[in-house]
Symmetry: C2
Subunit: 518 residues, 2 copies
């Protein structure tokens, strides 16, 4: 009778960044591998002590990575199992998560119930889905494949697997943009204005994932943004607002898992977007939210009908989850402000807060309008007065004072907005014709700024000299690329030479004003 | 001015089985990583000499895997680039394959053109898609998301990226089953019968992927099946047939890539199935094909309407690609034959070929009917005579003689069908009631046989003692599990104890006969 296989393997750390997927590494000549008849990429169950995780099996033929009687695990898997290097672990065939049956139903075009969506989200948050299954989930639920109620139940389920913060007062306000427009750092204006008015606005933002700067990257030029919750809470209580990175808060664990796959697919379906944004806002304890939906030919949302449908979907889900929502469709035809990249955008924001005459007017106006909308959540403020109250707070310097107080509380960093620390290597992109700027390509400029090094190199990016409708002549600079390394400058320069992202033409060709709310 | 990053890295082999995905491993502290601003799981372009491949980037924090100035590559990537260990390679941001735009259009529900599908299949076959993108492709094209012409163009594109064999005679016949039914080794009867009649039937089969045995696994008990093409061709010319593994032939390179993702997702959409099967048959040079579509409550196809739709889709695509197709919907309510597992199935086949009175009658009958259909492709054979010609060839011993000739030509292995080398550890599963077998679960029995060790352990599997309609009494054995290891026997036994896969009830509850063709 053949001997039974060894019952346990020794855990060994394999430091390969799997981006939140549990992966284990097993030698092809490991007796357990042969006895169990595993296959590469199959799902296995790894247990140690009383914990069990599901993982994808990678088969290794290399003694440098794992030994014959070892199981390689990521740092994250070690943490989930609560073990140290060398601990005894068991590996076995995994039953697929029960909710995979629902995934297959969704792929087949069926409608999922509230219970099914809840089970799927629990399995996703618990890392029980492989990357391939996550991709299948995202594609199967993309576009119009989820109806309103499915999006509601998905959002609810995503809230359910996270912790939900209770600020023990109301309203707790927030402002969010669905993204896609370079610059557009309005949160850094809205928070100090609204907080100065006395409303509670504990703003958590994301770092840039595919864009050249997120609010968290830009705020990080001015202050510490990586605050654990117990440091953030007293700041918010005292100053009525903050601007911190939300990554520490684990607001939506299922969303954190899904983003690892939706990002490389650049998949951003309406249902996913609504569930992702609203689950995080609700988990953060917000009661009132102003939502910015930019519309434009190179924005995320490109047609008014699509913007209206998205707005209605946000409103439906928010209403059923008890979140007061004011969704605004805005002009997304071009970047907002002049700078694209953390330092450049921080400069723009501080110009506005300092009432500098050179401040970008579009950023000031949009910030005031959004702040005005948020202020109107205040029951004491009469309808329509929000904008003028916001302007008073900004013009009087109270917004700047509040921003400084928040920056000091979070931990100030050196930043001189009059002489910002821009990346030293520059290249100017010039107009190749006489005429008027008729189109600006948001995506192109974002890519150029990213190749130039933003957001990893804080001072890198693009500084715009002209916006839609400006008259320019041939050879006149349209924007300046800033970069910290010659290779990055060369990447960005090369992309710009294949298409600068600006269209210059007769004034009659100018991109038409959109019938947006502002 | 900062120094430019080093322009090249040294290639190093990293033996992790990535199942046909190009993966490269780069240290987080590598200057190139930092300079380029790469992210984990992003797509990069790796070039050496004049070759370039696209790969997914895995970020490594472990000096044992790659050094700071090294790039880790799989064996496959070394082969694609045509380099040796230590060669200088360059790594850069990759532009996503152009056809990713079509993938996004498909996800959005758009119809794809012939040119778009061709470009996608070229990129897939060239390993330019990541696993996540492949999963997105499979899900987006699953179910009714591809119309008839899209399936045609997909099939055509899959033929286009492979080599197509020309046997320089016609007809070149083939027989294929869409799968899902354990046992069912009819190819091993059809090939010797049809070859003995003189028609050319160069049969390539697959190894089991998710099933307990494929034709190639079962034939491998009797003969060598891993024949390179130049050894297979003279065998086919001389004996008019063969039974070899198709994996060496690279008949459908795009399908080979897709299967790495469709398998873990167990995604088998009609469009994908048609494109996969027909592209391989056309590439193999077949001109005439009998296709077996088993229908049953636990078969792949579960409703007659679905079977009819699938049959029509196969017929449409085959007709437009010049392949003569006879698709037959067959009874798939239970396994065909008694054995499930390579050795057990080989025993069944040889019992039939030897005209042993104990041979499973259902396997004999189905083999004869399918062989009869193939024979009717012979213009000299009158309509309807195929079955009786096939029976004459089998009963006269000519089929056995031809099978022996093919086995000798491919390379005979020791196999005594009267005393087959079954795995020694056994467990009998008994009926828990008196009554009649009213249902047999194909999927359950396949899983039990797999857990018992099939197909990796050739002699492992399940030996059925009863089939639909048999009267059994409580405590009477329904089947015997064979296993080569105690742990595998225990896995299989445990699954069977949670559900044996047999339903015993009153005769009136028996699964109804299906209105199938046979």
């Amino acid at each position: 009778m053949p001997a039974p296989p060894p019952s346990a393997l020794a855990a060994r750390k394999v430091a390969i960044d799997t981006y939140r997927e549990n992966v284990v590494y097993l030698r092809r000549d490991c007796p357990v591998y042969r006895a169990e008849g595993f296959q590469a990429l199959s799902k296995v169950e790894v247990s140690a002590n009383s914990s069990t995780i599901l993982a994808v099996l990678n088969v290794v033929d290399d003694a440098r990575i794992v030994g014959e009687l070892e199981l390689g695990l990521s740092e994250e898997a070690f943490a989930l199992l609560g073990i140290e290097e060398g601990a005894r672990v068991h590996v076995a065939h995994a039953e697929p998560p029960v909710s995979i049956a629902s995934l297959k139903r969704k792929i087949a075009g069926e409608r999922l119930s509230r219970g099914e969506l809840a089970a799927m989200v629990r399995d996703i948050a618990a890392h029980r889905y492989s990357k391939i299954e996550l991709a299948a989930f995202l594609v199967a639920t993309a576009k119009m494949e989820l109806d309103h109620d499915e999006v509601l139940h998905l959002t609810e389920a995503m809230v359910g697997v996270g912790r939900r913060h209770d600020w023990r007062e109301t309203p707790v306000v927030d402002k969010h943009c669905i993204g896609g427009i370079p610059g557009n750092r309005t949160s850094m204006l809205v928070v100090p204005i609204v907080a100065a008015h006395g409303m509670l606005i504990p703003k958590t933002s994301s770092r840039a994932i595919t864009s050249p700067a997120g609010s968290a990257n830009t705020m990080a030029c001015l202050a510490d943004v990586e605050l654990p919750f117990d440091r953030m809470e007293p700041i918010v209580r005292r100053h009525r607002g903050c601007l911190v990175w939300g990554g520490r808060a684990a607001l939506s664990p299922a969303d954190d898992v899904l983003i690892a796959v939706s990002r490389p697919l650049s998949l951003d379906s309406p249902g996913q977007m609504v569930a992702s944004i609203l689950s995080k806002k609700i988990a953060a304890g917000s009661t009132h939210l102003v939502l910015d939906i930019p519309l434009g030919p190179t924005a995320k949302v490109r047609h008014m009908s699509e913007a209206q449908r998205l707005k209605k979907l946000f409103e439906y889900v928010a209403r059923h989850l008890g979140l007061t929502l004011d969704a605004v469709i805005t002009d997304g035809r071009q970047p907002i402000g002049r700078g694209i990249g953390p330092v450049l955008e921080a400069r723009d924001v501080l110009q506005v807060l300092n009432n500098d005459p050179a401040a970008p007017a579009d950023l000031r106006l949009k910030g005031l309008r959004l702040a005005g909308r948020v202020l109107e959540f205040d029951p004491d403020l009469r309808g329509g007065d929000g904008f003028s109250v916001a302007r008073d707070i900004l013009d009087s310097g109270r917004a700047l004072a509040r921003m400084n107080a928040i920056i000091d509380a979070q931990g100030r960093r050196d930043f001189d907005w009059r002489r910002p620390n821009l990346a030293p290597l520059v290249h100017e992109v010039v107009s190749d014709a006489d005429g008027v700027v008729t189109d600006i390509d948001n995506e192109r400029l974002a890519r150029i700024a990213r190749l130039a090094g933003a957001p990893n190199a804080e001072g890198a990016g693009v500084d715009l000299f002209h916006k839609l409708g400006d008259a320019v002549s041939r050879g006149q600079p349209l924007y300046r690329i800033h970069s910290a390394s010659t290779s990055e400058l060369e990447f960005a320069r090369r992309l710009a030479s294949h298409g600068a992202g600006f269209t210059i033409g007769p004034a009659a060709d100018a991109s038409p004003e959109l019938p947006v709310e502002f």
